[in-house]
Point group: C3
Chain length 274, copies 3
């Protein structure tokens, strides 16, 4: 299976052009759209979505990711393998959060023109370089065929997440989803009435358990929200917080938009207090 | 085939997460996206879209429907069979208009955790409960394996539709489609210059034929529109009405938006006069 | 493979209805969405997208195209073959730019009701006439079965493109893509520091090479932009121009929207000066 994420949107035929190339080279591969509506050029959002979906993708999946504001400039085109996936795209951090969870096995720069479209364009490497590479990798061409080995990949900064000695956890807003739910950098697995905080960007070895029967979340304006189990646990129109489906703390309004009602944006800080 | 309808939109990876689960459990099943752009939490619109598409889906299709504002609360997770489909989703009326056409054969509550994702989240049953159930049902697991039998499903109110003795038909606006065409609750099959009115939500046994060579539609502001065959039958920019592709009366503007030009919204009443 | 382009959007189940029909008649065919977000009724934009994606579609593809503001009126429903594709849709110019590149082999009017849905609607030929025809054609039903041969298809006007004796090339804005990049009618293949201009709407036989090491683009407000290789070659927020991935001159803002910052729209004229 080849899974595809991009910021191309669906109103043009950019995504279709990539799929036509994939289909021509690897006609028997299934294609799965992860999303194509990453905000234009928002590499961090793309990286977060890849991190979020990764646990549900079957082993062996080829991930074709294209959020690529530096296309046609010096940034490298790359492919790499970790213990679960093969990834193809720009070397700009897009796969950075994915990588934090799994060891990198091998990475190459995509320089071999035999596995590119003839006369590759300067502005659409998704179609001309990345899609052919993803398709050839899916059909079994060895990674080493595509170009020289590279050591390190570009990384994005880690989302803010700090656990204070007093038990206060400081995090930040990462993004608003389709429902206006604000996804934060604070990760948790609920167990036995205590909060198990981990830094999802580093790995589960940095777990820390904080015993608290009744935590609350402080917003920048000073208001406080109690942690609930689901957004349906508060009346319609009320602000609430809960651990979302990716294990991250989310702030939401039942049947409304927390993004609109709070005005909070990426990078705004929040605190979880025991 | 597994057909999927949701209000998740395509800008996040929620839909992709459901598909990844479906693919992992039932890799040979075809997936058909019905729509994922039901307005957030709009169960009635989801129910109308399922009613609209149902006649075109092959027998044996598994329908995975997730418009689920009550996720994580008391509402049940269900699966059921009628004589054509197997449906999986929340028990909130989403499948209610579909059900009115075909007899319910059997329904269960999805309580067996063997057919759910481990540590199912409180806010994403689409991925953790409904998608696994849809996939296992598609691979042949019997309905009775998923949980206890339930008798009755939650129903939505029927759209307003009343046929007066004088031949006047009172209905309401149901929604505006992508083109700004206003879909109404008045159903009809045109025959021989007369109007054959049926209550599509009840079944064809409530048909009623009204002979009229030249019916007109009254809007709440008192204006009247003649019934035409297609929106192209009036000049560009003109308001018109016709029987749409689902057999429901629609109000439209040729090359424009009736939703914008009339301001009519769901629940606004209209009349069809002989 | 059946490739589908429409202006139906994805918020209703119109596209799904077409796919359900395709799947029922031709269950083993792969489906490729080209785009469904052509602006409502914008036949020219649909024609440009088909022209743009065509070089990447495999030979033998059936193209189902539905941008059809005249549905239910006098316009014909057609299918035709050229040396690469079979196309099905309305006879309104939608396939016109595609046709200019490849000789038309045979065209018919879709009048045989045996290959249509029973009681075809007046407003949804995509589902009731075009999708069944595309599916039956994909399964091998001969073109001549569908209706009488027709000679000529409706054509759209050619986009403005004129090469003056002084070497100035006059063109126009065609549309803005998802990123706000303005795609123009000026076609080019870059070679050896000179500009190779061709009229992409007529064919490559009208190539003309203009030697210039440093061309610039004049906008209607008198401002001038230098031709670069990629949008990343200028600082963020700066206006630039380059040859886009379809071989057409594009005007863009690095990490911004040229459509918003220039206000240019379809039909506005630009000049490329040596």
């Amino acid at each position: 299976m080849i899974s595809i994420l991009s910021d191309f949107g669906l109103e043009d035929t950019y995504v279709a052009a990539m799929k036509a190339v994939l289909h021509t080279i690897a006609p028997s591969e299934k294609l799965l759209d992860l999303t194509h509506d990453v905000p234009p050029g928002d590499v961090m959002r793309g990286a977060l979505e890849l991190w979020r979906i990764a646990p549900f993708l079957p082993s062996g999946t080829v991930i074709l990711g294209v959020v690529d504001p530096g296309v046609g400039t010096e940034r490298k085109a790359i492919a790499f393998r970790n213990d679960k996936f093969t990834c193809v795209g720009p070397d700009n951090g897009l796969f950075g959060y994915l990588l934090d969870e799994k060891a990198l096995i091998s990475a190459v720069e995509l320089s071999n023109k035999e596995y590119q479209m003839k006369q590759a364009s300067m502005t659409f490497h998704g179609r001309d370089i990345f899609a052919p590479a993803a398709a050839y990798l899916a059909t079994g061409v060895p990674l080493t065929e595509f170009g020289p080995h590279i050591e390190a990949l570009i990384r994005l900064p880690q989302p803010a997440l700090k656990i204070e000695d007093g038990g206060v956890i400081r995090g930040e807003i990462l993004y608003s989803d389709r429902f206006g739910n604000l996804v934060t950098s604070i990760g948790k697995l609920s167990r036995h009435g205590s909060i198990l905080v981990c830094d999802p960007w580093i790995g589960e070895n940095k777990l820390r358990e904080i015993k608290t029967p009744d935590p609350s979340i402080s917003l920048p304006d000073g208001s406080e929200i109690k942690l609930m189990k689901a957004f349906g646990d508060v009346p319609e129109g009320s602000l609430t917080a809960y651990i979302g489906s990716s294990g991250l703390l989310e702030i939401a309004v039942n049947s409304g938009s927390a993004s609109e009602s709070t005005g909070l944006q990426r990078g705004d800080h929040i605190e979880l207090k025991p």
